[in-house]
């Protein structure tokens, strides 16, 4: 049904590296990508992050490119609109529909390409995080960020129950499919309703059971987590430093340069 990137993160060889270092790499990449003024910076970031994810993170390249195409539908439609509507100046090419002239200016096209590059770089940074760091490692980070206890708690329990319910949902869906429950539109709608209802009722009952079981084990609204200390090693430090330096140099060299 859906692939969960967390599955890959748990098996990742980069899982046991320092969480803060990984977060710093990702935050730096995302911020540099989003504030870049030329498509070269996002391109560099995307290249480095994809390399790190595939080479160090041992993610199958085929799977990696498949998930990189997830935003394609939304991004392509949006950048076409941006190319046509954004920017001023002489049109590179234009055509008439219903008496309106639609044209693409060089400024609009540049913006569209820049946005495309930024999205690819942002997604590759995000993938680096989600394919190398399982959520369980990030809860300690959320706690250290001084978010309210109840928030972290609920996030944690939600994480656990997402997998329980996905399992239930997949089981029900499978059972419905083999009974021709998704034969045509009408039956699939009916099956969908039954699936949703059962899921809701089951989640509710599960929640009540969870409360009882946690209460009987002296739950007082706080769960203590083990936050393992993982010092940053020298090679990691050097590699990260080199990556930051390359991105900053590209950032500085290509200020305001565009393709067209």
């Amino acid at each position: 049904m859906t692939y969960i990137l967390d599955d890959y993160a748990i098996l990742s060889p980069l899982r046991y590296r320092n969480n803060w270092l990984k977060l710093a790499i990702v935050t730096f990449g995302i911020l540099a990508g989003v504030s870049s003024s030329s498509p070269f910076v996002p391109f560099t970031i995307a290249l480095c992050m994809s390399f790190a994810t595939i080479f160090f993170g041992k993610v199958p390249p085929k799977f990696y490119f498949k998930i990189l195409a997830v935003p394609a539908g939304f991004v392509l439609v949006s950048i076409v609109i941006i190319a046509f509507f954004f920017g001023e100046g002489a049109n590179l090419f234009e055509f008439d529909i219903f008496g309106y002239t639609l044209g693409v200016s060089s400024q609009g096209l540049n913006m569209a390409l820049l946005i495309l590059a930024r999205t690819i770089s942002g997604m590759s940074c995000l993938f680096f995080l989600s394919l190398t760091t399982p959520m369980i490692e990030l809860f300690a980070v959320l706690k250290a960020a001084k978010l309210p206890d109840s928030f972290v708690e609920i996030a944690m329990m939600m994480y656990r129950y997402i997998f329980v319910f996905l399992d239930v949902a997949m089981g029900i869906r499978y059972a419905q499919t083999v009974r021709l429950g998704y034969r045509d539109f009408k039956t699939s709608f009916r099956s969908m309703v039954m699936l949703g209802t059962n899921l809701f009722i089951r989640s509710w009952e599960q929640g009540e059971k969870l409360y009882l079981s946690m209460n009987s084990r002296c739950y007082d609204g706080k769960m203590i987590m083990y936050d393992e200390k993982r010092p940053v090693k020298m090679p990691e430090m050097l590699l990260t430093g080199a990556y930051f330096a390359i991105v900053l140099v590209v950032f500085w060299l290509t200020r305001g340069i565009s393709f067209i």
């Binding site: 049904m1 859906t2 692939y3 969960i4 990137l5 967390d6 995302i30 911020l31 989003v34 935003p71 939304f74 991004v75 439609v77 609109i81 046509f84 509507f85 954004f86 920017g87 001023e88 946005i115 930024r118 999205t119 690819i120 942002g122 997604m123 995000l126 989600s130 959520m135 309210p148 109840s150 928030f151 708690e153 609920i154 996030a155 329990m157 939600m158 994480y159 129950y161 319910f165 996905l166 949902a169 998704y182 539109f185 709608f189 969908m192 309703v193 039954m194 699936l195 949703g196 209802t197 899921l199 809701f200 009722i201 989640s203 509710w204 929640g207 969870l210 409360y211 946690m214 609204g221």
Partner: protein
């Protein structure tokens, strides 16, 4: 529709964070209060959040052959109120960004504004107003969730239009273009989600109506009336 990572340029992603964060903080404050009063709601809220996530990852059957996902936030707003839905919605959005590669971190503010705040708020206000006016419960749920789903996409179109205004027609022209693509295609899906939620509610009333009474969605008398009508 989530706005993907890196899509919103410089002042806009910060601006949407500035709009979303106070609302989410207010939601957290509300949730903290609720949790300190009634500790048993913690697991219930957690499973509710997980339910939103799973519901939103299911593919809806679609007439045109393309598939789309329900947002599930309209239903959550009716069940838990908009403040708590905002907090649960943010966690769901974060998980969708990290687990499913839908959405992003810098665009989290904008996505939270459209999907976790404005959409659910509209659904909740509609639901409250219509139930005061005495509208049929299922019709009400149908309209509230369908409108919430659709409003989410209108807000997303507006966010894109504000960030990328048209050179000739300004924000309005690019809003029409974005809304023309995203909001119009969403109309049948919004209707579908509304119908789905209304039917789910029908079964829930049938099988486990006490949950709805516990959550103050319905009173005992309305449940009795709805059950009577079913027979």
């Amino acid at each position: 529709m989530h706005i993907f990572e890196g899509f919103l340029p410089y002042p806009w992603w910060q601006a949407w964070f500035a709009i979303s964060i106070p609302v989410i903080l207010y939601g957290m404050y509300k949730m903290n209060k609720l949790v300190s009063e009634r500790r048993e709601v913690v697991p219930l809220l957690a499973v509710a959040g997980a339910f939103i996530f799973v519901l939103s990852s299911l593919k809806l059957p679609s007439v045109t052959g393309s598939s789309s996902h329900p947002t599930g936030t309209g239903m959550a707003a009716i069940l838990f109120g908009p403040a708590i839905t905002a907090v649960l919605g943010v966690i769901v959005l974060l998980y969708q960004a990290i687990f499913l590669a839908h959405g992003g971190i810098t665009t989290l503010g904008a996505n939270a504004a459209s999907m976790a705040i404005i959409g659910p708020l509209v659904a909740y206000m509609f639901y409250k107003a219509a139930s005061k006016a005495g509208m049929n419960f299922y019709m009400n749920v149908f309209l509230a969730t369908a409108i919430a789903d659709w409003v989410t996409y209108v807000v997303t179109s507006l966010q894109l239009a504000l960030a990328f205004p048209s050179a000739t027609g300004g924000i309005l022209a690019s809003f029409i273009a974005f809304a023309g693509v995203f909001a119009t295609t969403q109309v049948p899906l919004a209707i579908l989600e509304g119908a789905l939620t209304a039917l789910i509610m029908k079964y829930v009333v049938q099988i486990k109506s006490d949950v709805l009474v516990d959550l103050n969605v319905l009173t005992t008398t309305t449940v009795a009336k709805l059950k009577e009508a079913m027979q």
